[in-house]
């Protein structure tokens, strides 16, 4: 768990267009949050931090995430379901 509940990230790439643009800052809440379908989350895939939207939830498998710009996104359609432990937090701003 992070020492501070909020983290600031800067978005790189097009996969969350039109919701999030490259260069835009987001604030991510990392402590005790409840996720639901439609939330945007920061996740960690191997060593890389990514930002995607939750499309499906499952109690045993975690979350299935996708980019809003489906044609330009590498997401759960490629790397499968995300474990809960790989979710850094939930985007609370903007």
């Amino acid at each position: 768990m992070n020492w501070f509940p909020l983290q600031r990230f800067t978005v790189y790439g097009n996969s969350m267009l039109p919701t999030l643009k490259p260069g835009q800052d987001v604030l991510v809440w990392c402590w005790f949050y409840k996720l639901k379908v439609g939330d945007i989350v920061a996740i960690k895939i191997n060593v890389k931090e990514m930002i995607k939207r939750v499309r499906q939830m499952s109690s045993d498998r975690g979350a299935f995430v996708q980019g809003d710009n489906e044609k330009e996104s590498t997401d759960s359609r490629n790397f499968g379901w995300i474990n809960k432990k790989d979710i850094i937090g939930k985007v609370i701003w903007p």
């Binding site: 600031r8 996969s15 995607k52």
Partner: protein, 144 residues
Amino acid sequence: MKFINLLLKLLPAKPVFAHCDIPCGIYDPQSSQLASQTVLKMVQKLKELQKPQEDKGWMDYKNSMIRMILTKEQHAETCKREILILWTDYFKAEHLEKFPDLHTLVWQTTKLCSDNKRVVDEAKAQELIEAVDKIADIFNQTKK
């Protein structure tokens, strides 16, 4: 809003990636289609190759034959590689749902690439072209 601005100023920014691994639009079945057509062309040229009447023509004959076989071999390999790139990096589960025969089609096409290395057979080369064209057609439909 002021509080948000303060937070944005105070918190260090880390990059978070929203991009695909490779910029989109670089996947294209055309290279595999060209490779499959080259395989057929080489088979046809090999079949047409005339044995020399005189001894002095043998070197050129062998040279041409080896070059054609080598080109056929290389293009069959290129074709297989390009199809496998589409299979592993481009096609997604949703495409398989929409085109349930895709798995078998890719499997048969890559096997046809290997077959075409092994033999000099016009029918097999034609079969490869048709299989690659089917994959290209599916690819184009997913782009609509």
